[in-house]
Symmetry: D2
Subunit: 252 residues, 4 copies
């Protein structure tokens, strides 16, 4: 990045290096001093549904993490509408194994993770501060989520189940209306009263979202393919925006 | 049951018929009038870790549901110790497909549910009132949980992730100590600081449990095999207790 | 078909009705009299790699079965070159569960077929006469294969391992050369010395093929996605040919 | 082994070191000189169904490989009865991923091997000479099989489909009778006209076998759990025999 930007090259960074905008927070979660701290605050977070205009004119875009994409798309509209409290948000995510990367490791060896489900990184996953930062920006107040990722025996897909406290009594329809209005013009977000499944978005750039109230609590559920909307698909979408191409070019 | 009990036969009922002790609640969730309402209140809920003495002398035991077993074993010790609030409890469960029964259905057809994860029965699953009832009995106050089950592409196993608000500031050790003390003499519950995985309990009657604090919230995670501790294994354990056999006979 | 053809409509029949060209053989394998026997012999078998010119001018094309596509593409070039004997051919196929259709059945219920492999239809699968017929046409002599399909716990894909007796001593290179020459201009067949895997062709219209000699026997292995090259992809390819479109239009 | 045997210790060797009885063959397949060649010929091959009496009095038993167990149990009775020719035998095996060992490797990484089937070690798998040796001993003539293993996306289990040429015309019943007679007193081999499935033997020491004729060719299919009858279960069975314990002790 330090070499490319001065040459005028536009960069979409798939790593986590420029997602956080605070150097101390970065050092706290990643264990090393940031080598380019001066650029952190001005980097655009590459989630088109929230930052489309800034992405269009950005030279450096930080491509979002897979879990944050699924959680932020589920919660941002409700926080922005002040329909849910910024406090007490719980995010319970379930991810296919490709989310853990290509390097063979004992816990990703087929006979170890097949036919099993488990939580990992409880309270320590690096996507937690990334979710905090973006949701705080949307809510215009400090958001600190409880985030628990789980490993699921499948190749791809993330299902994220979010729990939040509504600011006033809510029915299902009012929640869905807020989500539908927010995403009315989005090519890759589908809001519905139906419960999403990761298989319905596999191989696509779609994010499917629904919301319900259960005993006075708001439950929002989203599904993405972590390899597309949660990674490369999002990068292509950002590329299209940064280069003035049709936003959906090359995407299913 | 109506025929067997007058003959003196001891009955362990694997169905849900005698789990709830309130006829109106039963009718509300199951849609039919209970045909033997008079026996509901006196039936023993067959979870040995909570009701061992009553099971020993019972003639009719209601074998618990699979989700309730995983959720109640995780939460009961902390509620009993008043370490967590009875309000605001969230239970996010992940179950293998055998939990949905043997009957072939479209959404359980291999190519439909394989390589996918989804929530179902959000706010409407019949195990919710069962969990409420037992946790309320333990907490000696009204507990109404938010329970969300999910379908996972594997044969067997339930992982339940519970979120609760602590009554006072808690560290991980104090939570584990409460759980370890409560289950100190239990043959089939293993408390550990390690994160449980359903594969570690597959084919056994064990329930593995851990607890952590994350940003002031309590996270308790349990794993069982729904086909053993969540069903037939529990029934065998109850049978052993009702007939004065060693409690672990015939169980792995 | 009987209604559409007289109107001049071009038909690609995805069913098995017009794949066999002999009415008695049809009745023998399908258990019913063919309702349109007169059209059987003149229907074109829709495998472009063998019958491209006839498909281009056909009004009725019988789309091949998934197993036959994988077996015929593996064996036809070697039979045509008389590199293998038409006698003693063994075809051992492994298919994902989607090959068995969408209807929920007990043996396709997730907990029944997951984590298991088994043979089925041994000696009685209806794709056996279809393979015979096409390979006999290619070999210009009577071919009667031994075909054994197996059910594999995955969504999609067929791997077919064929065993044949070479007519003269053969090394791996001479086998690969015959295959490479035969498919030199084919857009969807890839011949290589590498062993194919169904995952490498998933979601695509490709058929990957390799061949080896083992102890004087020829082993030919092919991989397709049964839902694409083994079904709808093949139909699209035929559609393109029948309508003068680029053969690869709409296909990955 | 060189240290233990002189002390009088009985040894069941789970490795492949003493399975072959010819030092040159060992060096050919394993690429190193055998360090204890003098003991090779006298070591007993630990398949109780063939060598029970020798195992009982052996001090050193070579525990069989998983593939050889499944193939030899399927073919030995028919070779011994001279019902099939020792020439032209084809063995097509399908194994779960645990058969490839515990070490994480790229091709065993969950997202690599899940949802895929492929052949490997075609013509070069080290179990091939082991199968040859034992079947040659049974047939009292030189047997050289064509053996093709395949990797299946499941934890455990081997299904082996064998193809052989009958010596005289055979019907299914006569094949089954030979198998049933051979295994009449065996505690862990079940012969049936039903097609075996690996799930039916998972977690057990059973080997299920059937045989059919298809177009004049004999098809024999066997299923084992590679982690039990194909490894540790077989070792326990041998241990029981070597120590005069009931042969089924400790085995399901």
């Amino acid at each position: 990045v330090k070499d490319l930007l001065p040459r005028g090259t536009k960069v979409i960074d798939l790593s986590a290096d420029y997602r956080l905008n605070d150097a101390a927070e970065y050092q706290n979660w990643y264990g090393v001093e940031h080598p380019d701290a001066g650029r952190m605050a001005q980097t655009v977070y590459g989630l088109p549904e929230l930052y489309r205009d800034r992405i269009k004119s950005a030279q450096l875009v930080a491509n979002p993490g897979c879990y944050p994409t699924s959680a932020i798309l589920a919660l941002a509209p409700l926080l922005k509408a002040a329909a849910i409290s910024p406090e007490g948000i719980i995010i319970d995510s379930k991810s296919g194994v490709s989310g853990a990367g290509r390097e063979p490791k004992p816990h990703l060896h087929f006979p170890e993770c097949n036919e099993s489900v488990s939580a990992y990184g409880v309270g320590s996953h690096r996507h937690m501060p990334e979710i905090d930062q973006v949701l705080s920006d949307v809510a215009k107040s400090d958001v600190r989520v409880v985030f628990t990722p789980h490993l699921i025996p499948m190749d791809r897909g993330i299902l994220t189940t979010c729990y939040a406290v509504p600011t006033v009594g809510r029915d299902d329809n009012s929640l869905l209306t807020i989500l539908q209005d927010f995403y009315a013009n989005e090519p890759f977000v589908r809001v519905s009263s139906a419960l999403p499944a990761t298989k319905h978005v596999a191989g696509t750039n779609f994010c499917d979202i629904t919301a319900r109230t259960v005993r006075g609590r708001v439950v929002v559920i989203s599904a993405i393919d972590n390899l597309v909307k949660g990674a490369s698909g999002s990068a292509v979408q950002n590329f299209n925006l940064m280069h003035g191409l049709p936003e959906t070019a090359g995407l299913l």
